[in-house]
């Protein structure tokens, strides 16, 4: 009798444990799927909401040549954004690519200098944009007396995107097979010639992907520009203050008077940035396929 009881209790316990494990597994599976669904839904909702509310508000007046408080035109901001992007890239791309070439092609692996540069790059990439904004204001606007101007803004942005360009170029250079370099040396080319006409062209898609990613960062940037390039809403020359598209949108949204126009601006900004990032991953994909 007691034997029988004991056996039954054991069986019940085993059954209970098995049930618990199954329940736990089911719960975990549900949680994982729910979280993934939540991520996709939230982000999809964000884009969908902005597009659906924004597209009907896109009116020709929003693209007038001159900004007035009635037409809320974003065209000057778009032109300034283009100028700013071009200037920042002109400064940061040769600089970043040169630095990456030194790290990968010239420096001894693991030397103290390489470690120092890598530490500096990692530090730069973690600094929030508002700190860049403060620094740009102190150095370019005040100390160098450039004032609120596109040039101050693009110098600040150039420093901000430098780590991005440097890192992507470094990765691209590292992925160029050593046989390319050896082949070039074997044909009698010098180091410089090898780098310039063999290695860099082979790494070009990777570098391009980094540059496009940097454009995306520039176009979406606000905090670093508010106190460096300023918020004057007109098409600006290099030494004038001029608003960019993202700041224009910030002004519209936070003043609360132009919500409809803000919807329209956010559509333009969002679509622009998504297209830029899409182009970047396409460019990166090309290099992957080539070697795959």
């Amino acid at each position: 009798m007691t034997e029988e009881k004991k056996r039954r209790r054991q069986e019940r316990q085993r059954y209970w444990t098995a049930w618990c494990i199954r329940a736990q597994s089911v719960l975990l599976r549900v949680a994982v799927h729910a979280a993934a669904a939540a991520t996709v839904l939230i982000l999809g909702f964000l884009i969908g909401y902005v597009l659906i509310r924004g597209v009907p508000n896109l009116k020709p007046a929003l693209f007038s040549l001159h900004y007035t408080s009635e037409n809320q035109s974003m065209l000057p901001a778009i032109v300034n954004t283009c100028t700013m992007t071009a200037m920042a890239l002109l400064l940061a791309v040769p600089e970043g690519v040169g630095a990456a070439v030194y790290l990968v092609e010239y420096a001894k692996k693991g030397s103290r200098l390489v470690k120092l540069v890598r530490l500096a790059t990692e530090t730069l990439s973690g600094i929030p944009s508002i700190v860049y904004g403060l620094f740009g204001m102190l150095l370019f606007n005040n100390w160098l007396h450039l004032g609120y101007s596109l040039i101050s803004g693009s110098l600040t942005l150039a420093i901000m995107i430098l780590p991005l360009i440097l890192r992507t170029t470094e990765e691209a250079l590292l992925s160029v097979p050593d046989t390319y370099r050896e082949g070039s040396f074997g044909l009698g080319a010098g180091k410089l010639r090898t780098v310039m006409s063999i290695v860099l062209p082979a790494a070009a898609p990777g570098i391009l992907s980094g540059v496009i990613l940097a454009i995306g960062r520039i176009v979406g940037e606000t905090a670093a520009l508010m106190y460096t390039s300023g918020t004057v809403a007109k098409i600006a020359g290099l030494s004038d203050s001029g608003i960019t598209l993202a700041l224009h949108m910030y002004k519209q949204a936070s003043e609360g008077l132009y919500t409809e126009e803000a919807y329209a601006t956010s559509v333009v900004l969002l679509v622009l940035v998504l297209l830029i990032n899409f182009a970047s991953s396409k460019a990166a994909g090309r290099i992957g396929k080539k070697q795959g």
């Binding site: 975990l28 979280a35 939540a38 070439v101 100390w143 410089l192 956010s266 900004l269």
Partner: protein, 286 residues
């Protein structure tokens, strides 16, 4: 001639490599030389721990903003991290290949959405929602909760981007061994694979922490920005980043320097977080 050109270019490349080091040095020098004298003038203790920020009366205490930043960031991590981790697990171990091909680039693209667009989304969607939610408790729409929710959404792609590769880097044999011992798929993933990816997971969380703490524009658009000690998660709050942007436009004299000093405090926080991040990332390699 040829060797001269080679040497010259080598020096040019070396010079470009040193620019990033020079930038970090310049940033430190300029921020500290403009911020620290103000801190000294106000008094380190009174600046960092003072509970009142009233520039009109020359009282500069940033403790409310430090607490505000910590609350907003902490709550954002509390909301965002579980979702991000589970999504990363989904991508690595649960996602069918056809779905993955579509979801993965989508999440990557979302990391690039500008913060003003997130902020605007916060204004038109999250603020009214939280206002309705908080009405019975005398809550405000512009509050700690709203800012945290928005930040939680913003750091999702960042954390997922670091954690998913970390989970994938765990050798398949861990998972298979666990299965062979009779564990279910879910238990194998959560009890064998995830603990092995620990330092990558932590690195992802720390990166998210840095992003959340440094975020400026999206936060000031939804946080209410009252410069006082936070009174509850449904009340307004001002963060360190917000303090700088909101008042820099009209500040002068000591007030301006106090704002730069606020930037220095933020900078130190971020440097510590970055140090933690690179230490965690380094551990994975070894």
């Amino acid at each position: 001639m040829k060797t001269f050109k080679e040497k010259a270019m080598k020096i040019v490349f070396l010079f470009t490599a040193l620019v990033s080091v020079a930038c970090v040095a310049l940033i430190c020098v300029f921020l500290i030389s403009s911020g620290v004298p103000a801190m000294k003038e106000i008094g380190f203790g009174r600046f960092l721990l003072g509970r009142t920020w009233r520039p009109g009366a020359e009282i500069y205490g940033i403790f409310p903003m430090i607490v505000g930043s910590v609350y907003v960031t902490g709550l954002a991590l509390l909301i965002g991290v579980p979702v991000a981790l589970l999504t990363a697990v989904y991508l690595a171990y649960f996602c069918p290949a056809q779905v993955y091909r579509f979801i993965k680039p989508a999440i990557e693209l979302l990391a690039g959405i500008p913060s003003v667009v997130y902020g605007f989304f916060g204004i038109v969607v999250l603020v009214p929602a939280v206002r309705t939610l908080g009405e019975p408790f005398q809550g405000k729409g512009n509050s700690i909760l709203t800012a945290s929710l928005l930040l939680a959404i913003m750091i999702l792609p960042t954390i997922i981007g670091v954690v998913e590769p970390a989970i994938r880097a765990v050798p398949r044999s861990y998972y298979e061994g666990s299965l062979a011992l009779g564990a279910t798929h879910e238990r194998s993933v959560f009890s064998a694979v995830l603990p092995a990816a620990r330092s990558g997971v932590l690195a992802g969380i720390v990166l998210g922490l840095g992003r959340a703490m440094g975020e400026t524009m999206a936060v000031i658009m939804v946080a209410g920005n009252q410069a006082r000690m936070p009174k509850g998660i449904l009340q307004g709050v001002r963060t360190l980043t917000g303090n700088i942007v909101l008042e820099m436009g009209y500040a002068a004299g000591l007030h301006r320097e106090a704002l730069i000093a606020t930037g220095v405090v933020l900078f130190v926080f971020i440097l510590l977080i970055n140090l933690a991040f690179s230490a965690l990332k380094g551990r994975d390699r070894g």
